[in-house]
């Protein structure tokens, strides 16, 4: 069986020939249902990797396959969330969650007919990330952490097979961030969804992922791939164990080298 997300020898340049070479010879594969984390120095091409994998950018070299199919246009089986929650301020939380359903088929044509069903699905999803009862609130009435949860829900509402997260917790305080690690861990466990998480937080990567990929400085490629074997479900407590610290430390050394 081939990998669910597969990039092979991918190179990408921004701004045409002679532009910025963002990634070069990048290869990585993620199995179905796996939780993969990508870490690397700032500007090394992590966001570019996300855009390539989801068909928002196209490489000049190499191949990209998602679920066995070559990526030639934006991938519809992916949900995305970024550092900024990017909720629409003129829509309530519930209406924000319904936005993907107004676009993605087959939901788009069923939305008016099955409105009640979709609203129930959204409410349930909100409740599952601890946002029960906020559906009528506007995004600016929510805290940063709550907005991020809502943004995750928006990424999941159309039940994608693949969740792409680009530094989703970078703008949050440490406590909120750890809370959201729990949320993401539980979503992954409950839905058996494939997750690719870009982060610059090593604890986050090691705590959440089955496999951590370390990228080199720009032009980015994968320097190292490290399996993380801690048993699931993982408790936040494990981040304080020597075994965990050893893994994080080992990765840190590699990133340190990558920056030079």
């Amino acid at each position: 069986m081939s990998a669910f997300v597969a990039l092979e020898g991918v190179s990408h340049v921004y701004g045409g020939a002679g532009g910025t070479l963002a990634v070069e010879g990048l290869s990585l594969s993620v199995e179905r249902g796996e939780f993969a984390a990508v870490v690397g120095p700032s500007g090394c091409g992590k966001s570019t990797l996300m855009k390539l994998a989801t068909g928002l950018q196209f490489p000049f070299k190499g191949t990209i396959r998602i679920a066995g199919e070559a990526v030639t246009k934006p991938v519809k089986i992916a949900g995305m969330a970024f550092q900024a929650p990017t909720l629409l301020p003129w829509r309530t939380t519930l209406e924000n969650l319904l936005l993907p359903l107004e676009i993605v088929q087959p939901h788009r044509s069923q939305l008016s007919r099955k409105k009640g069903e979709y609203v129930a699905r959204a409410e349930k999803l909100l409740a599952s990330v601890g946002l029960g009862g906020v559906s009528a609130k506007y995004p600016w009435e929510l805290s940063g952490g709550m907005q991020m949860r809502a943004s995750l829900c928006r990424a999941l509402i159309h039940e994608p097979d693949l969740l792409m997260l680009d530094e989703p917790f970078a703008a949050l305080d440490a406590f909120t961030r750890e809370e959201l690690w729990g949320v993401i861990r539980d979503l992954h466990a409950a839905r058996r969804i494939t997750v690719v998480l870009v982060t610059h937080d090593l604890r986050e990567a090691v705590f959440l992922a089955d496999r951590v990929f370390v990228m080199s400085a720009r032009p980015g490629r994968i320097l190292l791939e490290r399996r993380v074997h801690f048993e699931r479900p993982r408790d936040l407590e494990i981040t304080y164990t020597p075994e965990f610290q050893a893994v994080a430390h080992e990765l840190r050394e590699h990133i340190h080298k990558a920056r030079q």
Binding site: L56, M80, L88, P89, L99, I103, W140
Partner: protein, 256 residues
């Protein structure tokens, strides 16, 4: 005194203070009435010539509103077009900037040449002078969509029209309604300038005739009438803005 009450009263107090200062300055400095009439003389002239002022004010208001309505329709359409495509933006932007740089007074003679003096050049001038800020604001609202949000939607298979409809247009509404305040003020400038140069109607024409007859208080009465119309319309646009885009004005900064 209660803070919100003082804010409520402030515009009236400041206006009255200005009028009193004006009256006192004219009296104390013995400024002749044909140079700067005191507010009381202006009020008397307003009262005396009320039918003419009323009629011409309405005329100017109607002219301005027609030009303004055209500017809203055209500005909105052009703004959406410019925001839609980078190529159209690149092609039209220098043209629009150049056009905007032309003083509209200079266009009035051409309009007169084409349409004769009177109402048509006046509302066209109002239109020409006021559509630009609307175009720029609508296009800005569209151009500043967060790229991440665009990615999220494109990743879902959204077409350009989808993105425009779900995000672009709602997002540019606050910019649009904000620009109406600027546009309505400019529209008055346009119609009055044109009336002053080439019309037999309107406040601009009334003031020109008053000047020819040396009725200085009447000139000032015309100015005040224009100011009142300007304030009322600006205020109406501000209310409309707040009604339509309450979500964009949640910050206490703008309200304080």
């Amino acid at each position: 005194m209660n803070r919100s009450l003082s804010i409520r009263l402030a515009p009236w107090v400041f206006t009255i203070a200005l009028l009193v200062l004006w009256e006192l300055a004219v009296a104390l400095l013995r400024i002749p009435v044909f140079f700067l009439p005191p507010p009381t003389a202006v009020a008397r002239a307003t009262f005396e010539f009320w039918p003419a002022i009323y009629r011409n004010s309405l005329f100017t208001l109607a002219t301005t509103m027609i030009g303004f309505a055209l500017a809203v329709g055209f500005g909105l359409a052009l703004g959406l077009l410019v925001g839609w495509s980078r190529t159209i933006y690149a092609g039209l932007y220098p043209l629009m900037v150049g056009f905007n740089a032309i003083p509209k007074v200079a266009v009035v003679p051409i309009l007169v040449l084409w349409f004769g003096i009177g109402f048509v050049p006046a509302f066209l001038t109002a239109f020409l002078i006021s559509f630009f800020p609307i175009v720029v604001n609508v296009a800005t609202g569209l151009a500043t969509i967060e790229p991440e949000l665009e990615d999220v939607l494109k990743g879902l298979g959204a077409s350009k029209l989808d993105i425009m409809q779900k995000v672009g247009i709602p997002r540019s509404l606050p910019y649009f309604f904000g620009s109406l305040k600027v546009a309505i003020t400019l529209a008055f400038v346009g119609s009055v300038v044109s009336e002053t140069i080439a019309s037999n109607y309107g406040i601009g024409n009334l003031m020109l005739q008053a000047q020819a007859q040396f009725q200085v208080p009447l000139i000032f009465a015309g100015l005040i009438a224009l100011a009142v119309e300007g304030i009322v319309m600006y205020w109406a646009m501000a209310v409309l803005e707040r009604r339509m885009t309450g979500w964009a004005q949640r910050s206490g900064f703008a309200q304080g």
